[in-house]
Amino acid sequence: MSEEQTETYLYKLEAVLEEGRLLTVVVLANSDERAFSAAENNILRHTVAPPHIKELSLVEKKPIGRQGVGYVIETSHF
C-alpha cells in the first residue's frame, strides 16, 4: 500500500465530518498516502474553523495519462 507509484493519479476521496456533513475531495497525487495528505490540506483550506474529520476514505483513482480524466460528484440541491 505504501509503495511509491510511477504514475500520477487523480484521486477521489470522501470525508465525513463530525457534524455529519459529507465532502468529496479530488486531488492529484503520486501515492495513496500523499492523496490523503493533500485531501486533508484541501479540506483545511476549505473550512474556516478546523474541521473534525470523522472518516476520510479514498474511493477511486484514475491515471492522468489522458486529458479530460475527471469525476462527476453528485450533490443535492441547496
Binding site: 495513496d32 490523503f36 472518516e55 476520510l56 476514505s57 479514498l58 474511493v59 483513482k61 489522458r66
Partner: protein
Amino acid sequence: MAERKQWKWADDPSLNKMELTKLEKDGLDVIETIVNTYSKEGFQSIESSDMDRFKWAGVYQQRPKDGHFMMRVRIPGGLLNSEQARVLAKIAEDYGRDLVDVTTRQAVQFHWLTVESLADIFDRLAAVGLSSFEACGDCPRTIMGNPLAGIDPHEVLDTRPLVAELEKFFLLNREFSNLPRKYKMSISANIHNAAHAQINDLAFTPAKKTIAGEEVIGFHVWVGGGLSAKPYLAKKLDVFCRPEEVVKVAEGVTTLFRDYGYRQKRTHARLKFLVADWGAEKFKEELVKLVGELEPQGEDLLQGWNGGYFYGIHEQKQKGLYYAGLSVPVGRMDASELVELARLADEYGDGTIGTCNTQNVLIRNIPKDKIAAFQAEPLIVNRFKLQPNTFVGYAVSCTGTEYCNLAIVETKERMRALALYLDETVELDTPLRIHMIGCPNSCGQRQIGDIGLQGALVKTPSGMVEAFDIHVGGTLEEPQFNRKLNARITVDKLGPFLAQLITLYKADRLEGEPYWRYVERVGLERIQEQVDSILQTA
C-alpha cells in the same frame, strides 16, 4: 504492416486522442512489432504510443509498472483440451511465476511476463490453436459461452460450432479491430442463462419459433449490456435468429457499433450508450437495414439463471456419461494443478476442460464406472472440490492491488480468506454469491453478486486501512444490480460484520429463499436497519 483502412470517421475533428492513435496504427499491427522488435530489444525499446496497443495482443502492463505484463488468453466458449491446458501450464511455469487465473469471462490470465517472452508465448499458444490476440483492446473480446455446450441436458442446441464460427470470423478480422471500445459477446443455448446474457454487449439466448409450420430452435438477441462504473442491462431486440443467422447478426450488430458507436469520449463509447440513445426498436431497424429482414421474437426458452455454477457430478444428455463441476477458489491455481487437471480430464473424461465465468472449471464425459475413482483423486478431495463449502464455492474476485494499477485494495487473497472465515463461522446451505472488487471498474462483477464488496482506503490514526462498501441484492434471475448500503467496513471487521448480516438473513428468510430475493422482499431499508444495528454493537 497491413494496408491502413480508411474509416468513415477518420476525419471527425471531435475524435478522442486514443481514436487518433488507433487511426495512426491499427491495434493489431502491434503484434508484429512485439514479435520483430520489442521482444528482441526489450522493455526500454517500447514506444509509448504502442503501449496502449499492447492490449490488442492481449497484454497489459501490470502493477507496479516495472516491466512486467499481464496476459489474457482467449478460451472461446470456455472450452480447452488437455494439450492446450498443458501448454498454458508450461507458459505459467516458464514465464509467469507459476500463476494461472481463470477469469469471469472464461479466459485464462497470466502475470509477471516480460516483453522478451511474448513472441515465444504467442508461438506456443498458436501451436495448440490458442491465442491471446484481441483478448483486451477495443475489439471483440473472448466469446463467452456455455462450458457444457454439447453435453448439457439443459441446452436446446449445441453451440460449439457457432462459437467456433464467431471466433473464426472475428479474431484478427481487421474490419472489426478498431471498435469505439471493448466489445463482449456471449452465446449460450442453456436455458439457465449460463453465459450471463444481460451483461454482454451482444448476447444470444435460446428461443424457439414456429416458422411456416416448422418449429425452429434459435436465439433471441440482446444488445448493450455491461458493468463497470455505469452498469447497464442489455436490451432484447424483437428478433428471432436462426442458428445459421448468428454470424450475420453478430456482424451486423458489431458493424453498427463500429460505425455509429461514439468515439468522442472513451467514457461514453461502449455499445450501451448507443443502445440507450437509440432504444431497442431503432437498433433493430438499423440492424435490419444491414443484414436484411429478421423474424420477430419467438418463444423465450430462458428459465431463470444458474449463476454460471455447475458443482458436483451430473449426468449429461448422453446417457451414461457425466460431467464434474469443480471449485477453484477465486479462480487461482498454479501450473502443477493445471497439469493435474489435464491428467484428470484425459484419464477420466474426454480430455476437455471447461472454464466457467464464475472462475471455476469442469471436466466432461466421465463414464459412470470411473466416477468413484475420480472423486477420490487428491486434487478433487483437497483442492478443486465437487461440493465446496457455501462461501468458498460462491466467491468471485477481481485481481486487486496485487497486479492491477487501478485497484485501491487487495482483493484476491482477501476474498479467499474471507470466504474461509464465513464457512467456519456461518453454516448456510443456500448459495450466497459474494463478489469482491478493488475499484469501480468491476472486473469482479460486483453488481450481480448477492452481496457486492467494493474496496476503499480509510485513514485511521494508525495509518491507511483497507475497507469495503457493501452492496446487496444483485442477480440475473430477475435482472437487477445490487444496491449500496450506508456502510464502509474496515477489513478487520468485515468478516464478523458479514457473518452477522448473513445470520440475520438466515433467521429471517423463507425456505430456500436466496439472498437477493430476500433483499427484494424485506426491502433495502430493513437491510440498512440490520447494518446499523450490527455497527452499533461492533
